[in-house]
C-alpha cells in the first residue's frame, strides 16, 4: 500500500508532484481544447461551403 506520509520532506515532495500534475494537466487540456475548437471551425466552414455550392447550383438551375 502507498505510504503518503512524506515527513519531514512533505514541503518538497508534494509541490513537485502537484506542479507536475498541474502543468501536464494544463498542457493536455490546452491540446484537447484547441483540437476541438479547430475541428468545429472546419466543420462549420465545410457546411457553409456545401450550402454555398448548393445555392449556386440551384441558382444556375433557376436560370435554365
Amino acid at each position: 500500500m502507498p505510504d503518503l506520509d512524506m515527513s519531514p520532506y512533505a514541503a518538497f515532495v508534494w509541490p513537485a508532484w502537484g506542479i507536475s500534475a498541474l502543468v501536464l494537466g494544463a498542457v493536455t487540456a490546452g491540446a484537447v481544447s484547441a483540437s476541438r475548437k479547430w475541428k468545429a471551425e472546419l466543420k462549420r466552414l465545410e457546411d457553409d461551403g456545401e450550402a454555398m455550392a448548393q445555392a449556386a447550383q440551384s441558382a444556375t438551375g433557376d436560370q435554365k
Binding site: 512533505a10 502543468v23 493536455t28 471551425e41
Partner: protein, 239 residues
C-alpha cells in the same frame, strides 16, 4: 514511412492511434503513480527519492521533445515540408512544459539534498539554456506575421538548439557538477535499485506516451488550422 508525410494520409493514420496513446498514457500514469508511492523511502534520501519519479521523466522528455523539434525543423528547412513544420511547432509547447518541470522539480529536490535551490553548474545551466531555446522558438514564431518566414526562421533556431542536447546529456561527465552523473543510461547498466527502477521506468513510459499523445493531437490540430485558413481564403475569394 515517407508516405505518412502526406497530410491527408497522416490524418487518417493517426485518427485511431491518438486515442490509443491517450489511453496508454492514462493507464501507465495510474500504475506509475501507485508504484511511486508504494516504493519505500531511500535509506539516504528518505521520501525525497519520490521526486525522482517526476523529475527524471520530465528531463528525459524535455530533451526528447527538443530532438523531435530539431529533426522536424531540419526536414522543414531542407524539404520545405509543411507536415515537418507542423511537427516542429507542435513539439515546442509540451517540450517547454517538460523542461520547466525538470527545472522546478530538480530545484525542489536540490534544496533538501544539496542545501540549495540552484547552482550554476553545467547540467542545470545547460537545461536552463534548453528551456530558453524553447521560449525563443515560440517567441520567434509568434513575432513574425508571415507564417512561411516565421517557420523558416524558427526552423534555423530549432536546428541551432540541437547543439545543446549532447551538452545537456554529457555535462555531468565533461565538467565537475553538483548534479549526480547518469545512473540510468550508463556503461555497466543502471545503478538504481530495482525497487526504484520499476516505478521510474513506468513513469518514463507514461510521460513518453503522454508526450506522443499531446504531440500527435497538436500536429493534427495544426493541419486542421491550416485547412481552415485555406477554406477561409477560398470562401473570401468566391464571395
Amino acid at each position: 514511412m515517407f508516405g505518412l508525410a502526406n497530410p491527408a494520409r497522416f490524418m487518417s493514420f493517426t485518427r485511431p492511434l491518438t486515442p490509443v496513446l491517450w489511453a496508454i498514457a492514462a493507464v501507465l500514469l495510474v500504475v506509475g503513480v501507485w508504484l511511486s508511492f508504494a516504493a519505500p523511502g531511500d535509506y539516504q534520501q528518505g521520501d525525497t527519492v519520490r521526486i525522482m519519479f517526476v523529475h527524471v521523466p520530465a528531463s528525459t522528455l524535455g530533451l526528447g521533445a527538443y530532438a523531435a523539434l530539431g529533426v522536424s525543423s531540419f526536414f522543414a528547412l531542407v524539404f520545405r515540408h509543411p507536415l515537418a513544420d507542423a511537427a516542429a511547432r507542435a513539439a515546442a509547447l509540451p517540450g517547454a512544459a517538460f523542461t520547466a518541470l525538470a527545472l522546478i522539480t530538480g530545484s525542489l529536490w536540490g534544496q533538501p539534498m544539496w542545501g540549495t535551490w540552484w547552482v550554476w553548474d553545467a547540467r542545470l545551466t545547460s537545461v536552463l539554456v534548453l528551456f530558453l531555446f524553447y521560449l525563443g522558438y515560440m517567441a520567434l514564431r509568434a513575432s513574425i506575421d508571415d507564417e512561411q518566414k516565421a517557420a523558416r526562421a524558427a526552423a534555423v533556431l530549432g536546428l541551432v538548439g540541437l547543439i545543446n542536447l549532447p551538452i545537456v546529456k554529457f555535462s555531468v561527465d565533461w565538467w565537475n557538477t553538483l548534479h549526480q552523473p547518469a545512473s540510468l543510461l550508463r556503461a555497466g547498466g543502471s545503478s538504481l535499485d530495482p525497487v526504484f527502477l520499476a516505478p521510474l521506468l513506468i513513469m518514463m513510459a507514461a510521460y513518453g506516451a503522454l508526450f506522443l499523445a499531446i504531440w500527435l493531437t497538436a500536429i493534427r490540430t495544426e493541419i486542421t488550422r491550416r485547412r481552415v485558413q485555406t477554406l477561409r481564403a477560398r470562401q473570401a475569394l468566391e464571395a
